[in-house]
Amino acid sequence: MMAKRYLSIHEAHELLAKGEVSSVELTEAALQRIDEVEEKLRAFVTVTRELALEQARHADERIKSGEFSVLTGIPAMIKDNMCTRGTRTTCASRMLESFVPPYDAAVVEKLNAQGMVMVGKGNMDEFAMGSSNEHSAFFPAHNPWDLERVPGGSSGGAAVSVAAGECIYALGSDTGGSIRQPAGFCSVVGLKPTYGRVSRYGLVAFASSLDQIGPVTRDVTDCAIVLNAIAGYDRQDSTSVDRPVPDYTKSLVPDISGLRIGVPREYFVEGMESGVEQVIRQAIGKLEELGAEIDWDVSLPDTPAALACYYIIAPSEAMANLARYDGVKYGYSAPEAKSMWDAMEKTRQYGFGPEVKRRIMLGTYALSAGYYEAYYLKAQKVRTLIAREFSEAFAQCDVLVTPTSPTVPFRIGEKMDDPLQMYLSDVCTLPINIAGIPGISVPAGFVDDLPVGMQILGEPFSEEMLLRVAFAYEQATGWGERKPPVQGKGR
């Protein structure tokens, strides 16, 4: 069974197709691994054991009948902010602790059609607000490379479960780095697609103009496979883009000779750990070795404004998106209240955690009469500038390469009392959401046995290019093959 723990999708699929393993066996292996390590990792809010086994049995029948796809029967985890019909979807919040959606998110529907086996729902920062998974209302997730450290966030559970072998792939969501940063911290592959590439229908909204769903996988090939399954226009999401979906696995060619790769100097920020910088510079050296032309002189001067811009736009949208949780219709409702307003106030007072409240207040303030022009409107203008800057850079370069995070995974509790420090851990990832462009994080090495991720960025809808560069780098280095030391109970 140990051999099966770290199978990729494509490896598992091959075994399934040959009849060498059944989906039930793969699923039982994942569930067994969950039993072994979950107490230490806390990657799951909910483990859907019965559902998974039922789906696995169904998948095995499909495989027997010959009608199956590369994702049929593969155990997966879904971040707990994507609606799953009949399975509670909590957003790691007390507010939705018992909320069971009567509908599936579009991505879940798509994966179900492919015969997904869902082993559970992923831990996260409450309503995806956070960079460490410590803002889960239930329990923080732990980094499998060092249990004392955070796995990153907000899709911490997704990255942890894939890294530690509790499932084969996961879906995360990324509003300011929530897929890429934890992928980097856990040494797995994470892709935030172009805004509009994947339907957001059924993704519980944090910041609607920034949110995007993407794969968290063991390798770049799996990333392409999952993207194939979830990308595409959805008439239920008016912000999804009606544009053909290519076969992303076709772009997995280990050849980047002649590609122009830019390194924006603003991404080697003050406060960046030297170990991380070293790893990234080595990784870039590797890309050069592989035949790419490196331009070390790219500049994106508005980058420092991105953080402020993000922390105006995202909370503003969040303020409105979270207004529906008033205890009237579903979710948590304060049991004792003197009046309607009292009930709504108490519901929100208890139902939301401190980080969520902080952001609701930030958004309320930024949109208030008299402040709108100075904050929200200005932020939107800066947003346009940042997008333009990227587009100018992509006129010179095929892709840009940066560190995914300025640091290695930090210690649990280290930044909890300092929101600004916490916000700064997304400094390399959030401009990408502001610009709406795609970004992928691939394992790029280690500093003192702690993972470092490299981020590759491209123009809108250049996922094929990102996958090609990531694949070439992965094939040449194999950093993703190293597995975390976390062991089962008693060790």
């Binding site: 957001r200 207004a323 529906r324 219709k329």
Partner: protein
């Protein structure tokens, strides 16, 4: 001091689309049990997204065109944020600084002609849920129930400029606006059922003085009459405050029907800050000029045009033409009658039908509190009855009685005439005896007539009519009497 009244109206009209503004739920909820026309989208459940109802946008554009507005090339939706349990998402998807259309006008009838009232904007939004406030009889505990059926129904907001100068003008404006919506077929315009709602901004200022005093917003007016009464009340209230040397404050007041008064609800300091911002779930809309022109070509004939045509084509007075065209159903009914009416002069026929519609129909609608759309008398049945008058079978007086019966029972004229023996008697042979009797009984009148007093003839015709209980054809009776008197 003389004061000038300044009124601006804000109308919300539900659109007659099949499905809701942002989801596919049916809008036909009037007779549905609570919370049966709902889905995750209009319930505002986590993670769901709105999609725009194209029909609603088309209806709103048609309305804006009918109101002479400029249609925006680029428009977008915004979120209007305020917490209330009737608002499923905690915000309403509305339009703020880039509305669908702006700067139009609507003409109302005023003494000595018509006046154009400016339309600031027509924009698109969604309706909210309905709250039912209850009190537990045993404990006196109050609570509210939420019916989400109405939430998400397309709502059009039509804002006027502060161009109205009296409650009567406000009433005229509302009637005309409703009429236009009905002609377009985009809204029922029913105020009592809440598909057409009106809020008013009203202030008064010393005549001739351009400045304005504090603006008062009046809400909760549930009928045209209520709007009129509430505004009259406000004019008086505000005048009294100023005359006593008091100061008016900017506030929101609610009309309380039972009291016949407005009461203060909220002053400016507590005004909402709606924190509008662009709706990120919906991309901005580009409205092509082709689409605008296509919709313009689909506009039906509107009330003003139809009135003008009625005047020129049928020779009707402006007053009558205005009344007839105020409702599309009535104008359609009128023209159906004319189409079915055989032969004869167009203008005369038109006058006859118009007289019936504006006379007996109007009277009976008023008595029964019904409308032409509910009328049981079909155009062909009216024409049939008019035929009976034309051929002399029915006198005008009897026709009124027959029509009333038709109106209430839905039965047809010949049937009623036959059953009640109401047919007019025109045959001289049948009247001979009565005429002879009247002449014999009224020697004085006969003598008067012979001395040249025409009045006496009228009296004797009346006597014959009386004796035949109105069934005699007065024209025939007249001729017979004259003949007899001349002979004698």
């Amino acid at each position: 001091m003389e004061y000038e009244t300044v009124i601006g109206l804000e109308v919300h009209a539900q659109l007659l689309t099949k499905s809701k503004m942002f989801c596919s739920c049916s809008t036909d909820y009037a007779d549905a049990p609570p919370n049966t026309h709902v889905c995750p989208v209009c319930l505002g459940m986590p993670g769901v997204l709105p999609t725009i109802n194209r029909q609603a946008i088309e209806y709103a554009i048609m309305t804006a065109l009918a109101l002479n507005c400029t249609i925006a090339e680029h428009t977008r939706f915004d979120r209007k944020n305020y917490p209330y349990p009737d608002l499923m998402k905690g915000y309403q998807i509305s339009q703020y600084d880039n509305p669908l259309s702006h700067d139009g006008w609507l003409a109302i009838e005023v003494e000595g002609g018509e006046r154009r009232i400016g339309i600031t904007r027509v924009h698109q939004e969604e309706d909210v849920a309905k709250l039912w406030h209850r009190t537990e009889p045993a404990t006196g505990e109050t609570y509210s129930l939420v019916d989400v059926n109405r939430a998400g129904v397309p709502l059009m907001e039509i804002v006027s400029e502060p161009d109205l100068r009296s409650p009567e003008e406000a009433r005229q404006y509302l009637m005309k606006l409703r009429s236009i919506l009905q002609y377009l077929g985009v809204s029922t315009g029913n105020m009592e059922e809440g598909s057409f709602r009106c809020d008013a901004n009203i202030s008064i200022r010393p005549m001739g003085n351009g400045g304005s005093t504090a603006k008062v917003e009046v809400k909760n007016m549930n009928s045209f009459k209520a709007v009129y009464r509430a505004l009259e009340y406000e004019v008086e209230r505000q005048r009294k405050v100023l005359e006593k040397g008091g100061k008016l404050v900017q506030e929101t007041r609610g009309w309380v029907e039972e009291k016949g008064a407005t009461v203060s609800q909220r002053s400016k300091e507590y005004a909402h800050d709606y924190r509008y911002f662009p709706e990120p779930d919906l991309p901005p809309l580009t409205i092509s000029r082709e689409m605008v022109e296509e919709l313009r070509s689909r506009l039906p004939e509107l009330p003003d045009d139809r009135r003008d045509r009625f005047m020129s084509q049928y020779g009707l007075s402006r007053y009558d033409a205005n009344l007839l065209t105020a409702s599309r159903a009535q104008a359609d009914y009128f023209e159906s009658c004319l189409e079915l009416f055989p032969g004869g002069e167009g203008e005369k026929k038109a006058k006859t039908v118009a007289n019936w519609l504006l006379g007996e129909y109007a009277r009976l609608f008023n008595v029964t509190e019904t409308e032409i759309t509910e009328c049981r008398v079909e155009p062909r049945h009216l024409v049939e009855m008019l035929g009976l008058i034309g051929e002399g079978t029915l006198s005008t007086t009897m026709a009124k009685a027959v029509f009333e019966e038709m109106f209430h029972s839905g039965r047809r004229a010949p049937e009623i005439v036959q059953e009640k023996g109401l047919a007019q008697v025109s045959a001289a042979s049948e009247l001979e005896a009565v005429v002879a009797q009247v002449l014999a009984d009224n020697a004085q009148a006969v003598a008067d007539y012979r001395q040249g007093r025409e009045q006496a003839l009228k009296f004797m015709v009346g006597q014959v009519m009386r004796a035949t209980r109105g069934q005699a054809n007065p024209q025939v009776v007249n001729e017979m009497l004259v003949k007899k008197l001349e002979e004698g």
